[in-house]
C-alpha cells in the first residue's frame, strides 16, 4: 500500500474520465490520473503511482532509480503484484501500440 510505483503513461483512454494506460517495466495496466488534474497527464509522462492513482510526475531517470530502489528493498515483487492486480474498470487493457 505504501509502495510508490514508477510507470510511463502510454495512452489517455477515452472510455471514462481520468483513465490512462500505463507501462511498468513491460506490464500495462489502467490507472487513474485524476490527481494530476492541475497539469493533465499526457502520453510519455513518467509518474509515481500509489494504489492505482498517479500521484506525481517524475523524470525518466528518477523512475529508473525508483524501480532500482524497489528491487534493492526487496519490494519489487510486491510492486509488480500490485500493478498486475490493478483491474480498474471492467474492460481489459488494450495491447501495445
Amino acid at each position: 500500500m505504501c509502495l510508490a510505483i514508477p510507470g510511463q503513461i502510454i495512452e489517455i483512454l477515452q472510455e471514462r474520465d481520468n483513465l490512462a494506460l500505463v507501462d511498468v517495466v513491460g506490464v500495462r495496466r489502467k490507472i487513474d490520473v485524476g490527481l494530476l488534474a492541475e497539469e493533465p497527464a499526457k502520453p510519455g509522462d513518467w509518474v509515481l503511482i500509489h494504489v492505482g492513482f498517479a500521484m506525481s510526475r517524475i523524470s525518466e531517470e528518477d523512475a529508473r532509480e525508483q524501480m532500482r530502489l524497489l528491487k534493492m528493498m526487496g519490494e519489487h515483487a510486491a510492486a509488480m503484484e500490485e500493478i498486475t492486480g490493478y483491474g480498474l474498470d471492467d474492460s481489459v487493457a488494450r495491447g501495445g501500440p
Binding site: 488534474a37 492541475e38 492505482g52 500521484m55 506525481s56 532509480e65 530502489l69 534493492m72 492486480g85 483491474g87
Partner: protein, 373 residues
C-alpha cells in the same frame, strides 16, 4: 560494507557519512525521528545505522498506517464483514493484522467473504460486478492514500452506486507529530520528514515544527544517499543554529504539495474531533471521517458500528515502540512470542513496521563491515 556495491554512488555515501561525523559534535547526543515507516524500512535494509556515529541516534516514528490502527477498528471492520451479503475489501497489508477475534485472513478462513484489492477503484469494481452484495472498503493510510479513496467516492456518487461503502481509517500525519512532541518522555532534536505524504501535503504544514518548536525538519527521499543527505542537512542547520523546513526530495515533492489531491480530500472528508491511535492514545483532529454529504457511502453509518475498544495484548509493548520510547528488541515478546510468522502486534506485520524491519535485517548486522570513514 556488504551492501556498498548496490549503492548508486558508494563514493557519495562514504562522503556523506564522513560529513555527518564531521558535523556531529562528539560531546552531544542527537536524536532524530524518521516519521515515515518507508524510511524505517530503508534504514534497516541498508544498515544505515552503521554509517552513523554512535551519538547520532535514529528514532522510528509513527508513519506506518497499519501499525497505528488500534485493534478495535479491525474488529469493527470484521463485525461489518459478518453482516449478510457483505464483501470486505482491503489492501493486502491489512490481511494479517490481528484483531481481538483474529485477523481478516483468519476470518476469511472461517467463511467471511474477505478480498484483497490493490486500489480503492478495484473495490468499486467489485461492487459493480456484485450488484446484489454490499462491498465495504476498509480504507487505511495517511495523506498518500486518502486522495484515492476520495476520488473513488466522488465517482461512486456521480454514478449513483448504492452497494458500496468506505470504512474510513485514514489518519493525518501532522497531529501525530504534535502528539509525539507533546509527550513528556520524548526528547527529539529534529525530524526526517516523510517523502510520499509530503507529495500530497507539501512542505508548509511542517513550518510550525521549525518556527514554534525550533526543530529542523528535512523532507527526505528513500534512497540511502537521500537519508544520509537529509541527516547532513539537519546537522548543518543545528550547527548554524537554524531550525527550518528543508526539502531534500524536491525531485518528487513540490513545496505546495498536490492541490488536486488536497481538494479531493477536502470535498469528501472532514477532520474527526478525535481518533484513537495505537500507542499515542486519543489525538484530536488526527483522522478523516466521511462528510455528511457522502453519508450514504459511509460504512460507519451504514452498519451502526459497535465502536469496539480493545486493549493490546498484555505484555506487548507496541505503543512504546511506536512512540520511539522503546526499541523493537526491548519488547518482551520480540522474537519469541512475536515474529513475522506469528505477529502479535501490527508492527511485526507490515514491512514498514519497525519490529518487522528490525527482525528481518538485524541478524545480518554481524555481516556488515563499517565503511571506512
Amino acid at each position: 560494507m556488504k551492501y556498498v556495491d548496490e549503492f548508486r554512488d558508494p563514493e557519495l555515501i562514504a562522503g556523506a557519512s564522513r560529513e555527518i561525523r564531521r558535523l556531529a559534535d562528539p560531546g552531544r547526543h542527537y536524536r532524530f525521528m524518521e516519521v515515515c515507516g518507508g524510511h524505517t524500512h530503508a534504514i534497516y535494509r541498508f544498515g544505515l545505522k552503521d554509517l552513523l556515529p554512535e551519538n547520532v541516534e535514529l528514532i522510528h516514528g509513527p508513519g506506518c498506517p497499519v501499525c497505528v490502527l488500534p485493534m478495535g477498528r479491525i474488529d469493527d471492520g470484521l463485525f461489518m464483514a459478518a453482516q449478510p451479503d457483505v464483501i470486505f475489501a482491503a489492501f493486502g497489508d491489512m490481511m494479517r493484522v490481528p484483531g481481538a477475534t483474529g485477523s481478516p485472513l483468519e476470518h476469511k478462513a472461517r467463511g467471511r467473504d474477505i478480498r484483497i484489492v490493490y486500489s480503492p477503484a478495484d473495490a468499486l469494481k467489485l461492487a459493480r460486478a456484485n450488484p446484489d452484495r454490499h462491498v465495504m472498503f476498509f480504507a487505511i493510510g495517511f495523506e498518500t492514500t486518502a486522495p484515492s479513496t476520495a476520488l473513488t467516492l466522488l465517482r461512486v456518487r456521480a454514478e449513483g452506486i448504492r452497494n458500496f461503502s468506505v470504512f474510513s481509517n485514514h489518519v493525518t500525519i501532522i497531529p501525530a507529530i504534535r502528539a509525539i512532541l507533546d509527550s513528556p518522555d520524548m526528547r527529539l532534536d529534529a525530524f526526517i520528514g516523510p517523502g510520499h505524504v509530503s507529495t500530497v501535503i507539501g512542505c508548509r504544514p511542517y513550518e510550525w515544527i521549525a518556527r514554534n518548536e525550533r526543530k529542523p525538519i528535512v523532507v527526505s527521499g528513500f534512497e540511502p544517499l537521500d537519508i544520509l543527505q537529509s541527516i547532513v542537512m539537519i546537522l548543518r542547520q543545528m550547527k548554524d543554529g537554524r531550525a527550518e523546513v528543508e526539502n531534500q526530495y524536491a525531485r518528487v515533492v513540490p513545496w505546495e504539495g498536490n492541490r488536486a489531491a488536497l481538494k479531493a480530500i477536502g470535498e469528501v472528508f472532514e477532520l474527526r474531533p478525535y481518533f484513537e491511535w495505537r500507542g499515542l492514545g486519543f489525538i484530536s483532529q488526527s483522522a478523516l471521517r466521511i462528510r455528511d454529504s457522502f453519508a450514504a457511502w459511509d460504512a460507519e453509518k451504514h452498519f451502526l458500528t459497535p465502536g469496539v475498544r480493545v486493549t493490546d495484548p498484555k505484555a506487548s509493548q507496541c505503543g512504546e515502540v511506536l512512540k520511539g520510547v522503546l526499541k523493537p528488541a526491548d519488547c518482551k515478546l520480540f522474537g519469541n512470542e512475536c515474529t513475522p510468522e506469528h505477529p502479535i502486534g501490527a508492527l511485526m506485520v507490515s514491512s514498514e513496521g519497525s519490529c518487522a524491519a528490525y527482525f528481518n535485517y538485524e541478524h545480518r548486522k554481524s555481516e556488515l563491515v563499517t565503511v571506512s570513514a
